[in-house]
Structure formats: C-alpha cells, structure tokens
Symmetry: C2
Subunit: 242 residues, 2 copies
Amino acid sequence: MLFFTQCFGAVLDLIHLRFQHYKAKRVFSAAGQLVCVVNPTHSLKYAPTRCAAAQASTEPGILPPCPHHEAVHDPQLVPCMCPLFSCPWEGHLEVVVSHLRQTHRISILQGAEIVFLATDMHLPAPTDWIIMHSCLGHQFLLVLRKQEKYEGHPQFFATMMLIGTPTQANNFTYRLELNRNQRRLKWEATPRSILECVDSVISDGDCLVLNTSLAQLFSDNGSLAIGIAITTSKVHSSEAEI
Amino acid sequence: MLFFTQCFGAVLDLIHLRFQHYKAKRVFSAAGQLVCVVNPTHSLKYAPTRCAAAQASTEPGILPPCPHHEAVHDPQLVPCMCPLFSCPWEGHLEVVVSHLRQTHRISILQGAEIVFLATDMHLPAPTDWIIMHSCLGHQFLLVLRKQEKYEGHPQFFATMMLIGTPTQANNFTYRLELNRNQRRLKWEATPRSILECVDSVISDGDCLVLNTSLAQLFSDNGSLAIGIAITTSKVHSSEAEI
C-alpha cells in the first residue's frame, strides 16, 4: 500500500513539474528554448572566509587560510564556487566544471538561450538555485540566491559568472529576463569571472535584485521563470559614443 | 562683490546642468530624444489619509474624509496626486494637469521618448522627482521616489501613472530604462491610473525598484538618467499564447 502511495506521489510530482515546464515554455515562447526546472537547496550558512581566501590568494605574499589544503599561491586557483556548501575544495579553472558536476551534481545546459525555472520561491532564506550553462564555447554559472541583507526582509539576487578569467568574461554580455502578467524586467551586464567571489557580487548588489513583492509578481504558483541569453560583447551602442 | 560671486555661482550651475544634459543625451543617444533635468524636492511627510480618502471614495455609500471640502461621492474625483505636498485639493480628472502645472509647477514634456535626468540622488529620503509627460494624446505622471521602506535602507521607486481612468491606462505600456557602465536595466509595465494611489503602487513594489548600490552603479556624478518610452499596448507576444 505504502509503495502505491509513494508511486502516486511521484507521478503527481512529475505531472506538476511537466506542467511548470509547459507553462514556462509558453511564457517565454521562443521556439526551441530549453526550459530547465531548478530545485532549491537550502544553503548552509555562508562561509565568508572563502571569499577572503580567494581575495587574499591574489595578493602577493599572502597565503590563503585553508584548513584542508597546503596553501598554494596561485591566482588561478579557485575555491569551490558552489555557494551551497562550505566546500573545502580548491582547484584550477580548468577543473571547476567537473568538480561542480561531480561533487555538487549541478546540471549543465547547452544553448544560447535557456529558461531557468526556479521552484519553491517561498522557502526561507538563505536558499540558492544554481545551474551551469554551456554556450559560445564557455561555461557560465547562474546563481539565484534568496538572502536577507536586512533582517526580516529577504531579497532575490541573480547573477551570471563565467568559469574563466576576468579578461575572458569581458567578451560576453548576459541578459536575465522576467516576463509575466504584462510586466517585463530585463537586466543586462558583463558576467563576472568566477575568480571574483559570487558572495561579493551579491553583497555589492551588482546584479538583478528583486524584493519579495516583485518576485511574487513575476512568480507563477511559487516558481520563477528567468529567461537567460548570452551573447558576445558588443560595446553598448549608446555608450560607444562617449 | 557679492553680486559678482552670485553671478559666477549661477554661471557655474548653468554649465553643470548643461554638462549633465549633454552627457545624458549621449548616454541615451537616440536622435531628438528630449533630456529633462529634474531637480528633487524633499518631501514633507506623506499623508496616508489621501490614499485612504481616494480609495474610500470609490466605495459606495462611504464618504471620503476630507477636512477642506464638502464630501462628494464621485469616483472620478481625484485628490491631488502630487506627492510633494499634503495638498488638500481635490478635483476631476480633466483639471488635474492644470492643477499640477499651476499649483505645483510640475513641468510637462512632449514626445514619445524622453530622458528624465534626476539630480542630487544623494539627498536623504523621503525625496521625490516628478514630471508630467504628454504623449499619444494623454498625460502621464512620472514619479521617482527615494524612500526608506526599511529604516536606514533607502530605496528608489519609479513608476508612471496615466492621468486618466484605469480603462484608458490599459491601452498603454511604459518602459523605464537605465543604461550605464555596460549595465542595462529595463522595466516595462502598464501604467496605473492616477485614480489609484501612487503611494500604494510604491508600497506594493509594483514598479521599478532600485536599492542604493544599484542606483549608484547607474548614477553619474549624483544624477540618474532614466529613458522613458510610452507605446500603445500590444499584448506581450509571449503571453498572448496563454
């Protein structure tokens, strides 16, 4: 009996996910756009020392504090950027993708334009939704984070990081788009390199920021669909003149 | 001597405004786009009773509380929507524009696309920047407000209201665009009618919301340039399918 109940529950979940997928696809409508349902992970408390370590490791003569590894002074050495865990891993840029896939089971999607469908937006902060995006010969990490910068007032922060160097990151522009209920919000920027710290990008607020009421306006049944597009950078025409 | 010092100050101010105007024009680049420098007004404390009065006046049988006028039950009667003053004026939609121009000296600009250049963004909350925009045969009110929803954390809220009925408002879409330093933020929505209360639109967060760090990223020398465009509404293609 228990077995049948569980089976029935699983089927219901599948139908629910399929329905969300279908709705997101219609909202974003672009033919062939890949919709990826991303489930949340309730974060452990963030470890600020990771950022400090990453930043310190780029300063000559200062060894990064690291309880698990021999301190190696190498500006290309990246602490694990997956904000879900206080992961002690450190490694070179070339192996970050395989670490994120294998250790943290973060999915990787192909395509210049995808739809990121974050479920269960009501979960309490801190919560993260993460996916990797393979496009134009590079891999990007999309992080959506629910966090309380001001106690009792959770906000959503979304940003895209290139798993590459800052110089490589400058060659791209990413766009995040929310579109629902006759409202549309678009954020376009140059991705940051994963060598910078996602925590500091979010604390600087240099990303798409939504307060709870805006997030609710764009959510549908507890899920938030974010259209993502990555292009090679062209200097914004309006700024090129300056 | 004092006279010459004042003259010199005035000339410097003019040069500064001209320079800001010129920069904003280059940022937004669209040929012929009108740039309007909007100075802030430090708001008096908002009078929440104005909203309550406006809302109550639309409920049958409930007379709006109004200390200055005879209570008249007329859903088209608008309390003064200029948030700068606790203005006791009430009047019909047709005379709101002339009241705002004559009593509050709010400028009115023509054109489908304009640039709203709000100066002195550093001023403490509550502060408002307001302009009227005449376009497509109607008048719109753009309100940019700096307000502390959470004590000690000022945010910027920008919205556009039609000086007309909700039915008329549904025929339009407005777009607010910030563009600076390889970042771009766009908000598109249907304007609200001025018969609804600007205070409640802002408290609902159903508008463009910027926290201080984002506003600083988009500001140039203490001024924020917002590109404004109004079009007649077409149902967003992506939603039309639903």
